[in-house]
């Protein structure tokens, strides 16, 4: 541990967030974040891909962006263009794609070109927490749009847009995760996608589409991306964090040139890590389909284990929204059970989860909800973790009542 004191702490600017605590290691039952399954990392094939691509193109590492310009490594952009055309119906080439250092960097760039303090954006009522924290930091109002089991409620969105128009508020964008919504795991049906695009056009609201989870859909039946339906209205981002690994910081942004050229002018980071890009491209160019198939089958098995464990430990008073893909499930406790009261005692028992309030646009709307990522933990840890969480929950809140684990409705994810 460092013991050096910095003499000028008093000269830090005002308004900084609290400093971080020292890293204390990973919790035993880690249901947070977007971690993936360590057993699903194709270690040998990645090692072979790394060796092969470095031998072939390694000397380019001497040049910023491998001498291929600010959009990123051509091999990765070509793989992504092919994947997005084939699986998301998007008519794109390598020239339409910017590689970002994680999809978070893409979110930062979109915010940077569009948002000013006091602006308004729209988002699904429960949505990606980092979008909410970033909006807050910039002084942006986020208007929640209700969702159901099929994602955005278009009727409600229409009413909200009309209401905002009447108030003279022109939202800067609608942030949406149409394919495996985060955290509710839904897939927006084609009909709603078409209506959404039409509504956006009528109300002149740009759509900011996040398809970070679109590679991991159990049934492979997701409708095309919103970008595929109307590229003139959509900025599209995605990631390799879920399909390959989050420690690789690889995201991408697809948009018309006016958007890309503006963002490139702001991407003053010297490029995105090149070996990460090269290895991912090399591996996925030949292994994408087989890897995804295997990954999904492993994740689905863990999800089934989670569904059973939650049913067993929490009973019918807890509602688990079984996702149509991805790596997380959204759990709703009875009204009045506050997940915020569980965080500290859970941590003491080695359990970590994402509290619902961090995933909610409106304060108070998800106080009894939480998000459980099931990819990192083993099936045994999922079972033990849910048992422990139920114990902590009972000791803290009196819920779940003992005995709730008797008459359970058997539930399985749709395949």
């Amino acid at each position: 541990m460092a013991s050096v004191k910095f003499r000028y702490v008093s000269r830090f600017r005002g308004g900084l967030p609290p400093g971080a605590a020292r890293f204390g290691g990973m919790p035993k039952f880690n249901f947070t974040g977007g971690h993936n399954d360590p057993h699903m990392i194709p270690v040998d094939a990645l090692a072979a891909a790394a060796s092969s691509v470095i031998k072939r193109h390694g000397s380019l590492l001497a040049i910023y962006n491998l001498g291929q310009g600010p959009l990123g490594y051509l091999g990765l952009r070509e793989f992504l263009a092919s994947k997005l055309t084939g699986t998301r119906g998007m008519s794109v080439t390598a020239d339409d794609i910017l590689i970002t250092s994680g999809s978070l960097q893409g979110i930062d760039f979109v915010n940077e070109i569009l948002l000013e303090p006091g602006d308004t954006i729209l988002a699904e009522e429960f949505t990606y927490s980092s979008v909410l924290t970033r909006a807050k930091k910039r002084g942006i109002s986020v208007v929640p749009v209700p969702v159901d089991g099929d994602g955005l409620r278009i009727d409600q969105l229409e009413a909200i847009l009309s209401d905002l128009k009447a108030k003279g508020v022109k939202p800067k964008y609608l942030y949406t995760i149409p394919t495996i919504q985060n955290p509710t795991g839904s897939i927006l049906p084609l009909e709603r996608r078409l209506s959404l695009i039409q509504l956006a056009k009528t109300h002149e609201v740009p759509i900011f589409e996040d398809e970070c989870y679109a590679d991991i859909v159990w049934a492979d039946d997701a409708p095309p991306a919103l970008y595929a339906i109307d590229p003139t209205q959509v900025i599209h981002i995605g990631s390799l964090s879920k399909s390959l690994a989050p420690a690789l910081r690889l995201g991408y942004l697809v948009a018309g040139w006016e958007v890309l050229s503006q963002i490139i002018a702001l991407k003053t980071d010297g490029g995105t890590g090149a070996i990460d890009q090269m290895v991912a491209a090399e591996y996925f160019s030949t292994h994408f389909d087989t890897h995804i198939r295997k990954l999904k089958s492993g994740l689905l098995r863990k999800l089934e284990t989670l569904v059973k464990a939650v049913d067993r430990e929490f009973g019918t008073d807890a509602e688990l929204t079984v996702p149509k893909g991805g790596i997380f499930a959204w759990l709703k406790f009875p009204e009045g059970v506050k997940v915020s009261s569980l965080t500290a005692p859970s941590a003491e028992s080695g359990i970590a989860f994402n509290p619902g309030p961090e995933w909610a646009c409106a304060a108070g709307s998800a106080d009894n909800m939480l998000r459980l990522c099931f990819a990192l933990t083993t099936e045994a840890e999922i079972e033990e973790g849910m048992r422990e969480l139920a114990r902590v929950c009972f000791e803290t809140t009196g819920f779940p009542r003992r005995g709730d684990n008797r008459a359970r409705i058997e539930r399985k994810p749709d395949k």
Copy 2:
């Protein structure tokens, strides 16, 4: 080329920089930026390192930051701690080091914790252009401190600090590149380092030390880092861009915990690319000394070629500051020769360089100067590039006079 138009360009926020142009490929004679020598990339050894480390630790890629916390990959931090202790005299452990996505990210973080619009910083009169552009973007005044062949003029610095104090201005930091100053290539002697630390203490000015080039010193005789002299007054950054490769985005920041913890709270990028980190650590942990020795000998050969070519083509009226290490040289034309007039015609002839004004704190102080990076181009390209540059220069400005390439003083870099 993409043909999609984004419908909402009019909704971009105000004050954005101009959009970037489409990437048009690399210039033939590229003397810009921090590119390295492609022939010096140890392709086979890097491929072997990648294969080995991915096989050993690849499954950790499933976890953000490899499960090792926000400071970054432990293997890389341990290598850096050992290197900084051994070569820079810094008493540090892996816990004192934050891996950043390039040293530019470190600069952004230091700015983020210290600077507010209207603040003042100090820098060497000629300095890293990205520090100047970033300061400008934040509305920061940069006060130039004169340099000579040994770096910062301490007497002048003292006068400037007293003058600022009299005006009630308290600079937020002094940004300095003491070891291979960018762009003048000097090394600050130990005596000046000691005086600088004392002055900083007296005037309560934090020191922001950038040692990006400190691994590449011809004579291996650089005094210890400023951080080694007084870690309580210094935030230290460095990079692997020059010692290994710039397309790997790997920098590091060393500072007391109050600084690190504050910066970690701002590092919301999900971490730095993990395979880049793993490969660099694996390779450098066993090959650092031999690689650096080979790299320096190759760079020194190119520098000698550049010195001769500049002498031959530009004659005695051009002053080339021969650097004590690194990858660039600073060239001064006679007063009145404006390098800004050379940029466009040079580009037409495939020549790119860094115009002096971009490296100068004060407008007008480097209009006749330019920076030449000599690492990327081959020796033949250096010779041809200088011949072409001299031709363009003569056709544009009348300098160098024909015949200047007759009676040259033979100059060699100090070894």
